[in-house]
Symmetry: D2
Subunit: 157 residues, 4 copies
């Protein structure tokens, strides 16, 4: 089972080649991760959009108990992505649990089809001690339905 | 009458102060302008979102007949904007017609209220001749309902 | 007397029109402000580049005593700026002192000449109380040599 | 032998965690690639900075004969990078030649040491035909001195 996070392209994501810039595609993956896994900020106004999934439970906003760091990314670009007004369909799931980390796999669909495959390793840091902290039972339970095989990447053979 | 363009904040728009960065707010205004006034790209897949307003008629994508340039902006920040999952409500309207230019006025509402007032001067360039070209009758007609007084800015006294 | 802050364009600052995007130009102004007025971060490694001017004395990094907020910008674009490998020459000076704020004026020169004129109002916030705090005597002394008339903007008549 | 490309961090590259954002680090890699491998734009003013290396010979600006596309990236983050005023030292070299592509390897050093290891696959597209084109003899000769083993990445085992 996959999470489907709609993320809008911005015209400002295009580069001089008139396609979504490869770096900005990673910005879009970042936004999908935040929307998929971070709890709506309790210190905010409490307004939640319609797309907040049940997996959005890490208390990870700046100043809160957890800091999520990225240990690495692997990304492959299959299609150039032009500006489109409807959102991209970012599909993501957990492809590996470590003790204090998880691998996120992604496929991004634009109007022309599958545009990007990627995987990121996200590490959970205790904001107090600044050291990795274990994935909690609540997190593991909330995410269990979205655990699947890693995305197929050419670079992994 | 105002256009209401919903634009999502991205977590990546925050700066080290943990608020939407003042420069990124201008990126959000840019996106609202494109969605309000540019025609969906005829060379694209033709998929249009639900929010495309009747004012979206300039053929301004890179490589098309018109290039829109920004002559200037004035912007005032009234509230810090935290990350929010629901979109900002960017309200915009035309506050002045020139021969080959228009002034756009904006008010941006976040969950905490009115956060930004701004105005931009947009110039219409003929992509062939690279010279300003007059606003067409079709454009003027499509935009007539959204012509109103300029936004109130402190800097204008 | 003006500060001259060299800021490099990045290819990623270009938009689909193949010029430095108008929003990214404000990113470049932000960088010039930080380099002109913020003290090198005492918590950092202490390495300072050759261009740190005597005006760089606000302790404004995230987590320090002062937070600098932007109340507003006015910006006018005079020339399209293509990618260039040598830095832009961002000239800036203080054009007005308020009690807890200062107006910064800018002129940006690219290889083709004067490309941008702008002014920003920067407000000094006490990070503890989150309220505006007065410009200190040390700041006023460090900046006195760079006080001059406001930049000429068409929008100011 | 490695190319050493100095790239300045911008304060705007920091995210709400007060470190250079992982996505912006890829923007910095992009800039190092452009400076290392692209010819200074012949249609520009012809001003070249002091750091243009002998490898900078691809005619790749928008509208020119070659378009360089990114097929994929692999990146690993070893240290958080705070804002620093002196440039990062981006070291890069070619770690594999394909027929119409090359793999670039990178190591990025900040004031605290080695911060990032990465590799990108860059594909050379003929702008006319929009199809991959072979690396020219001139390119291969200009780059031969900077061919070395791929960067060590954990994800490659």
């Amino acid at each position: 089972m996959r999470l489907h996070i709609p993320v809008h392209v911005r015209w400002g994501d295009l580069d001089a080649y008139n396609h979504v810039n490869n770096v900005q595609m990673m910005r879009i993956l970042e936004e999908s991760r935040v929307r998929a896994f971070w709890a709506p900020d309790a210190r905010g106004s409490g307004v939640v959009d319609d797309h907040t999934p049940p997996t959005a439970i890490i208390d990870a906003a700046a100043g809160s108990t957890t800091t999520t760091l990225i240990a690495g990314h692997q990304i492959e670009y299959l299609l150039p992505v032009p500006y489109q007004r409807n959102p991209l369909d970012v599909q993501l799931w957990i492809s590996r649990f470590g003790g204090a980390s998880a691998e996120i796999s992604y496929e991004v669909y634009c109007n022309d089809g599958l545009a990007v495959r990627a995987a990121s390793t996200m590490v959970f840091i205790d904001s107090e001690t600044e050291r990795p902290r274990r994935i909690s039972d609540a997190e593991r339970a909330a995410w269990a339905d979205y655990l699947d095989e890693p995305v197929q990447l050419r670079s992994r053979g």
